[in-house]
């Protein structure tokens, strides 16, 4: 029953996240005909240096439907909104939840179990956010005369889930440190932005770049799973969650 309390606490965040991501996924599929028409126009765009290279790469990707879906959804919208909602789902731990802290602590349940149950419930919600909106891609693709492989969706969603779990865990850990919702959320988002920027400039092409793992770029480009990045992300999430449990078991309420 413990999961139920946490579900009550986070269900609106989860449902809003689900709706936003589903709308975004459906929007991407429905915009394909317009994008296809714009690609020849975009091809004539000239640019030099890093930006120019990125524009050309982006235009090239969008010539074909799989490249368009990957670049717009798995590399962009899912990562952007998904990271935000992962941090949102992770915030509001025992310390910073709006109500019921002492009530929860007075139940005949160890703090370790309280936090693990919350982490597990949040991860299930996060998994649903990773998979359900992405499933709309193969479902809706026939409406624009295209198909998209279910297997690809599952691989991308799984990679996204493992990598974004780091930001969920970080927010959960921060929620055992701060007694409000905002600081854990803002710090987790700031960490994601900092990692994104450093990945762009300091670690381009790294196996451990978290957003590269999240988008499963190696799978899209050459059919290889980013095993090293996945294992590193899972290990980081587990370590951060363990830190959250240690922190919550040691603190006074």
């Amino acid at each position: 029953m413990l999961w139920y309390e946490w579900w009550r606490e986070t269900r609106w965040r989860f449902l809003i996240g689900l709706v936003v991501l589903m709308c975004s996924a459906a929007g991407i599929v429905s915009l394909w005909p317009s994008v296809r028409e714009l690609v020849p126009v975009a091809s004539s765009l000239q640019g030099s240096g890093r930006i120019g290279r990125q524009i050309r790469e982006s235009v090239e990707l969008q010539r074909e439907y799989p490249g368009y879906v990957w670049s717009q959804w798995f590399r962009q919208n899912l990562i952007m909104f998904g990271t935000l909602f992962a941090a949102l789902l992770g915030t509001g731990g025992l310390l910073s939840q709006r109500s019921g802290t002492l009530f929860a602590l007075s139940l005949p349940v160890s703090r370790k179990r309280l936090l693990w149950t919350r982490a597990a419930t949040g991860l299930v919600e996060l998994f649903a956010l990773a998979v359900v909106p992405s499933l709309l891609i193969p479902l809706l693709s026939p409406t624009v005369g295209k198909t998209y492989g279910l297997g690809d969706v599952l691989v991308h969603s799984a990679c996204f889930f493992f990598a974004v779990g780091v930001f969920f865990s970080l927010a959960l850990l921060l929620s055992t440190v701060f007694s409000d919702v905002w600081r854990p959320l803002l710090i987790a988002i700031a960490a994601a932005v900092a990692m994104g920027v450093s990945e762009q400039f300091a670690l381009p092409g790294s196996h451990y770049g978290i957003f590269r793992v999240m988008s499963a770029e190696t799978w899209f480009r050459n059919g290889q799973l980013p095993w090293q990045g996945l294992l590193a992300s899972a290990a980081a999430s587990a370590a951060i969650l363990y830190g959250a449990v240690v922190n919550i078991t040691r603190r006074d309420f």
């Binding site: 029953m1 139920y4 309390e5 009550r8 606490e9 709006r98 109500s99 019921g100 802290t101 002492l102 009530f103 929860a104 602590l105 007075s106 139940l107 005949p108 349940v109 160890s110 703090r111 370790k112 078991t249 006074d252 309420f253």
Partner: protein
Amino acid sequence: MTEPPIIETAELRKNYGSTEALRGLNLQVPAGSIYGFLGRNGAGKTTTLKILLGMTRPTSGHARVFGLDAGAPEASVAIRRRTGFVSEDKDLVDSMTVEEIVRFTAAFYPRWRSDLAQRYLRKFDLPPGKKVKNLSRGTRTKVALLLALSRCADLLVLDEPTSGLDPAIVEEVLQAIVAHVAGEEMTVFFSSHQIAEVDQIADRVTIVDGGRVVVDGAIEDLRENYRRIHLVFDGEAPKPAFRAPGIVRTYRKGRELTVLLSMGVERVVEEARALNPVSVDVIPVTLKEIFLESVTKED
């Protein structure tokens, strides 16, 4: 054979930074008692209750409930399984309805009595479908009490159960506690700074001040033993030098000398008469007076 105490603390200390919340608290709460834990705001009452339930760890000393170490995580879970708790803020899950929080709580207690929960729902006139966040403070208190009573706990720990309630609800809550305890074998340990309610329902009391126990005993015994002796002299009252034990405080003002004592009234009266006063009056003392005398600093 004497039954072991349900709650026992020994030299319990708790520091928050440089603030000493508890300074060597020693408590023994016997089984089956309604035990009032009286003290001013900030006296260390809530800290003590939180330590007993494993929510806060002591800096030093020991706290045992049902003979189990309250500071050990596993033992603490076992303690909470047998304890009903109502926090000072009546903290509940705001997003749930009354019905949902009853169902949710019931899942954690194997001895939960649905019939009792239903009875208290009716008795307190609680709205099952209303969200907890929309309840008044009085109704929240009743919900918290329902959850604490229906689990058939061996111990009820109540932190300022009536704070912020109007007199009618205070009476209703106190009556419910007393009526429940009368029909069950349970111990009630409740903190308060309302002397009247402790006087009304408790059979034993500990007065705590500055993180230390200053008065402890059965209320009847306190009433029996505490006395104020009022002496009037012809001239200036002499400086008192009583040898008898139990002197709590003495006041001297002009021709009058007042002595508050916790025991041995005959011996003190005997010593007082040796001072040749014009009159000696022995006056009973109320719990309120005992409390005020115990927690007020001497000038």
